[in-house]
Homo-oligomer: 432 residues x 2
Amino acid sequence: MTTLIKHAAALLMDGETSVLQNAYVVVEGYQIVSVGQTRPEGNFDQEIDGTGCVLMPGLVNAHTHVPMTAMRGYGDGNNLQDWLNQYIFPVEDKWDSRAIRACTALGLAEMIASGTTCIADMYTFCEEIAQECAAAGINANLSRGTTLFTDDFSPKTFPGCVETRALAEGWHGYNEGQILVDVSIHGEYTSRPALWTAYAQYAQEKGLGMHVHISETKAEHEECLQRWGKTPIQILDQYGVWNTRAIAAHCVWTTPEDWALMAERGISAVHNPTSNLKLGSGIAPIPQMVKARVNVALGSDGVSSNNTTDLFEAIKLAGILHNGAQRDPLAVLPDAALRMATVNGGTALGRRTGRIAAGYDADLILVDFSHLSLTPCHSVVSNLVYAARGGDVVMNMAHGRVIYKNGAFLTIDMDRVKREVAEYALPQLFGN
Amino acid sequence: MTTLIKHAAALLMDGETSVLQNAYVVVEGYQIVSVGQTRPEGNFDQEIDGTGCVLMPGLVNAHTHVPMTAMRGYGDGNNLQDWLNQYIFPVEDKWDSRAIRACTALGLAEMIASGTTCIADMYTFCEEIAQECAAAGINANLSRGTTLFTDDFSPKTFPGCVETRALAEGWHGYNEGQILVDVSIHGEYTSRPALWTAYAQYAQEKGLGMHVHISETKAEHEECLQRWGKTPIQILDQYGVWNTRAIAAHCVWTTPEDWALMAERGISAVHNPTSNLKLGSGIAPIPQMVKARVNVALGSDGVSSNNTTDLFEAIKLAGILHNGAQRDPLAVLPDAALRMATVNGGTALGRRTGRIAAGYDADLILVDFSHLSLTPCHSVVSNLVYAARGGDVVMNMAHGRVIYKNGAFLTIDMDRVKREVAEYALPQLFGN
């Protein structure tokens, strides 16, 4: 399958965030094979006209829990403990395969329609999530978030480990890497060294990445310090958890020593600005982390704490929040915010995505620049960071395949999904 | 003209943010005359079916500079002084009537499409802005932002005062209050006591409101303290500026003493979270101001420092920013954020708007709750605050007149506006 995308202005996300006017981008299979300003020779299986649009790398949502789309706004306005204990956990007890599939598809549709082409997800029921991602055509790093509250533990029989192994054996590398599997320690505060050692070894042995919640709340960070005399980043390092490509979600309370270690080990921080603000967790020290050469990517977190997965919102928030919090209008420049959502996300997920260049994955979106809120356009980058919305996305190509175009989902049967959510999943989960 | 809006779920914005299912709302002229759950007797000139939608009060953008839509993203990524001196001010020198009309219409269209029914604008060329607002059908409190850098001053001949008087005489109360005129001191740091006295007297004499930039930046606030030994709120109070309904835009650096004075005088604070963050001004102490009983409304500020006027973004940001900054997930509850954008905005602008109740202005919008990002809906209020976007708005009725429906502008000729912006205004302002 070959595709020619023509006549768009292409934001390459090279070092200079150059914009190539009237670009011709050729896709073969799941890869970009050429980028230029003259029409390439030959015929193509399909041609996509991007006139009036900006073609940019698809967005990478580097920390999410897709099925939690079911809990959009559920229990909002409560404090964190009540919200978790009275709302979120009781619902999570009721998941079954059919409900998780329906809610995963619903969540993926929202992401795809708003320009996301790659996600890093952490949840349970990963077999079902993998099937839905595979069918939807989105790129996904999937992980079974594992908790362990005992030292009496055998990785051979412990459910989280069994599921992680099944997920890795069944799905890692599926469809030329559309699906990758990461290993996930849910968090330092929800697990024990026995798990850290087992997962560190397993990830290294199988060449898998690692996905962990790190220092999201002050209490979590400080209790770790009390427990171990070290921060979460540091204590997990002692057990070899970071000896592989790794995603550290949140990092709100990380320290300069943590950042030095993260830069040295190549641990990616995932900034989830909306969730961190909404839940009252705090404001992650992003400009400082960037300065310390930590790779910073962006995430939405679960819809239950956001309450959307429109990553353009996270880009804008990452681009303005730190300016205000640090009273420096240049704290995060617009091109840095865009990098977080594209090429830095690719690094976090271990994918060649986030740039428009030959050899990169064909994860591409078209943004309609004729929309009112993008008029006039003095700067493509400024408009994308500060004014664009998911609703401006008119085409989503993930892994070389067009999965969304002009409001239509080409891989998801939305009528069926909406019916399944309304008639099965919501009654099952919420009893209404 | 009578209109029946039927079958929507109506968010009344009464004290309890009640939602009336399957509501019937009757509009006569520019007012709501009845709200109920049974179909009222009689025939209506038009009926609007809101099935699947939420009907809510139109949004009030209580601080904006509409024509600055022309500068969307212009000079982004520069520090504040360079941005103003090298980008914004030189462009503002080139305005003429035709350019300002085109850019005003462009800005109003963006606002209307995203659910705004009332604005408080501060700028120059107010005659042209008034004509465009009148034609577009939006409710507007217009003011000629006035600066004065000398004490040698006659209000009879000073251009800002002459224009303010012309605006007030020509437009205040137009079309049963669709257009109101406020008096505007641009800011303490850009004016002198001679202006404060003259405008305070004029506003009281004519029964006009007041619109002033207050304590936006730390430098501005502290220089005022050095100059006068008082904060901007306090020194202007000494000259009688607050002896009328008043809008104080920004209030980022206001103090507890300021809040007490604001509550006592009935001065409304307008929170512009996006602009304050983007420009590095800081984070206004909104929960503290609310606790001190200050009326807090919401604004977008100019597009040049935002870079959109989608007020749903400001609602969400107001609803999450302070939770994060103050590490309290309950710092601003969702219903408080909605009040800022509706009924509190009405108070700030001196309008009976922001509620769905008999006797209130018929400023109403329909939000399509079938959209993916609003599915599922566990709480209408949560979905509106944290997940809705301007793009979800499918109907805008301002002052009793439907001015936008299903993507179509009923009062603005968008083809003409886009052509005027592209072919006249942008070349005139930016020389390209």
